[in-house]
Structure formats: structure tokens, C-alpha cells
């Protein structure tokens, strides 16, 4: 099966059977959307919670969770996905750094996870499973046929959600 890489701050939507992969997520969050009937799927690798926080005057970028989810939903429905059938799995949002003096500003991973969950809830997308938080990096592979999300990490090994 084709493996398509989703870079940091990007998203990919696919209609055909393939593997969508994001390498080494730290505090970033991977959002996998899937319609189990039509198999239309998408994977986003977001960096920041909300485009309302943007300090840039440029067009809204999918590096923000809200923009990525809106764009994926739009493209997935255009490819035939049924909006009400779309479910989500998420992974990432780790706190990668530790120090003798903890600094709450380093916990962007927590803020990302919280924002993504709220976003999914508001969009009425059911969150099926998650592997989030903790302190290690994750590489994720999303199978668009089965909707399975495989999470690989050097420290913990491989798991499937």
C-alpha cells in the first residue's frame, strides 16, 4: 500500500486505500478522521490549538487544529464521506522537555490535546480512541481502509488504537 507522509503543519485527505504517516510527533497532535462506510479518511499533523491565536496576517494555515479539521471535513465530504459517520482518533501532545524547575509554558502538548478534544466535541465528531500526553515522541501510521492508527515510539514500542 502507498505510504503518504504528512509533514508538520500539514494535512492529507485520501479516498483510496493507503497509509497516511506522520513522523516523530512531539507536542504536536495527529488528528485522524475516518468514515468507516466510504473509507474516505484524513490525517492532520497540527502544531497549535486555534487560529484565533495567530499573530500572522497570512491566510489561515492547517498548522492550527481548527483550520485543519475544517479543511479535512470539507474535502472528505467532497470525496463522498458522510459527515455524520466521520469519527476521530488522536495521538501526540507530549511534554517533551523536563527540567529541575518545571515551567508550565512548556506544556503546549496538553493545551493542544485539550483544544483538539473541544474542537471535535463542538463539531460532533466522536473520538473513538487516543494515545496522548506523556513524555515521548510518536510516529503514527493511519490505515485508511481499516481506520486503525498504529503508534510507534522508541521508548514504548508499537501499539494500535
Amino acid at each position: 500500500m502507498d505510504v503518504i507522509s504528512v509533514g508538520i503543519g500539514e494535512y492529507i485527505v485520501a479516498k483510496n486505500a493507503c497509509l497516511l504517516e506522520s513522523i516523530s510527533l512531539g507536542s504536536c497532535v495527529g488528528i485522524a478522521l475516518h468514515d468507516p462506510v466510504t473509507k474516505v479518511s484524513g490525517l492532520a499533523h497540527i502544531m497549535l490549538p486555534d487560529s484565533a491565536l495567530s499573530r500572522s496576517s497570512q491566510a489561515p494555515s492547517p498548522k492550527f487544529a481548527d483550520v485543519a479539521v475544517a479543511k479535512m471535513l470539507e474535502e472528505m465530504t467532497r470525496l463522498g464521506a458522510v459527515r455524520a459517520k466521520i469519527t476521530a482518533k488522536i495521538a501526540g501532545g507530549a511534554c517533551m522537555f523536563q527540567s529541575a524547575v518545571p515551567d508550565p509554558s512548556m506544556n503546549i502538548g496538553d493545551r493542544n490535546i485539550e483544544a483538539v478534544k473541544k474542537l471535535l466535541e463542538n463539531a460532533k465528531i466522536f473520538l473513538v480512541a487516543e494515545d496522548t500526553g506523556k513524555n515521548y515522541g510518536r510516529t503514527i501510521v493511519f490505515d485508511t481502509t481499516s481506520g486503525k492508527l498504529t503508534i510507534k515510539s522508541a521508548k514504548i514500542g508499537t501499539k494500535e488504537i
Binding site: 513522523i23 516523530s24 512531539g26 502544531m47 491565536l53 517533551m96 522537555f97 523536563q98 529541575a100 503546549i108
Partner: protein
């Protein structure tokens, strides 16, 4: 996206070169080996391409992150490939033999954080002297993981403002000891302007 003139790029190269040279001297004294500095690599890179530019998202590294405060604000990341980090801790704590790909024990982690402190202080103090500014660094923040996962915190900070990162990277090497490490400094945009002004090109 801001364009930088050749003069500005040259000034920044000189700026980071001075800092790195001081850090290399400090490392050389600590491990008693020759340490050399490569010519700084400065490039305006899309944030999404930074992991690739630094050698690949998947390579295992040990990263030490510092916030910079004072007249210049931003952040510094000093990172070593995992095998270099193992060799460094072995050199710093003669007698204890670390194994590759095994999580560093607490004492080794402390040693790396202290090493990061010493090198980054040398680096930042040299920069501060050069432009006659007061610059301080935070306590070290430690991470041992895949490069992509370690640097994404930095990229997230940058991505709040811009889609391109002015990547100012310098490599230090000790060919005898087969060691290499990279310094990356990310001054925020107002700080960059301040640097240009101090070196007389703004």
C-alpha cells in the same frame, strides 16, 4: 516573509560564529580534546522543512533547550546525536560506561544538563559581549528522543508568528573523539532587529 540582505546574513554568521567558538573552547577544556567549529549554516527554511534540514525527523538525539532573556529574547537548542551524548557522558564521568539506545540514568541526564549549561552560557556570554548587551539563559530543559519530536516544541513557538524560520545552525566537532553537536539560536523578530542595530547595519 522577510528577506535578509547579504550583509545581514554575514553579520549574523559572524555573530553566531563567535558564540560557537567560545562554546567549543569550553567543551575542549571539559573533555580535554580538540574541538573545531564548522562555518555557520544560515538559511530561511519553511518551518515544516526544519526537521529534514537538521538531519531527519527520526534520528535519536539528546536536546537541551534554553529560553533567552534580557536584551535579546528567544531560544537556544543545543543537540547531540544519541551516540555523541553517550560518549560525552562517558568522558565526563570516567568509569561509568553508558550503553547505546538505553535511556540515560538520572545522573547522566544531570551531567548532560550541566554540560549544556556550561556550553550555552559560553555561547550566550560571547554574543552578549560582542553586541554589548545583557543576555541571560533559563535553566536547561532536557529531552532525549527522535529529532522531530524534540524540535517540534521550538517550531510551535516560531509557528505562532511566522511560517519560516531563520535557522542559524553551527556544528561543533571533535574528530579525535568522534563527537558532534549543533547549536541553533532563534532570536525573536524584534531581537533580530536589535542585533542588526548593534552591529551597525540597521
Amino acid at each position: 516573509m522577510k528577506e535578509y540582505t547579504e550583509m545581514e546574513i554575514d553579520a549574523l554568521k559572524e555573530f553566531v560564529n563567535v558564540g560557537t567558538a567560545h562554546a567549543a573552547t569550553a567543551l575542549s577544556k571539559l573533555i580535554d580534546k580538540t574541538v573545531t567549529v564548522d562555518i555557520p549554516d544560515l538559511a530561511l527554511v519553511p518551518v515544516t522543512k526544519v526537521p529534514e534540514k537538521l538531519g531527519g525527523a527520526e534520528i535519536p538525539i539528546v536536546g537541551l533547550y534554553f529560553k533567552i532573556l534580557g536584551d535579546i529574547t528567544g531560544s537556544v537548542l543545543l543537540f547531540f546525536p544519541a551516540d555523541t551524548a553517550s560518549s560525552l557522558t562517558a568522558l565526563l564521568m570516567a568509569g561509568i560506561k553508558p550503553e547505546n539506545h538505553v535511556e540515560f540514568e538520572e545522573i547522566e541526564r544531570s551531567a548532560m544538563m550541566e554540560l549544556g549549561n556550561i556550553l550555552t552560557n559560553s555561547y550566550i556570554n560571547a554574543l552578549a559581549d560582542m553586541i554589548d548587551a545583557q543576555i541571560f539563559i533559563s535553566v536547561p530543559f532536557y529531552s532525549s528522543d527522535a529529532l522531530g519530536a524534540v524540535v517540534d516544541y521550538l517550531l510551535i513557538e516560531i509557528a505562532q508568528e511566522v511560517d519560516y524560520a531563520l535557522l542559524m545552525e553551527t556544528e561543533i566537532k571533535s574528530p579525535d573523539a568522534k563527537l558532534e553537536g549543533n547549536f541553533i539560536i532563534f532570536p525573536d523578530t524584534p531581537s533580530l532587529e536589535r542585533i542588526f542595530k548593534k552591529v551597525g547595519i540597521a
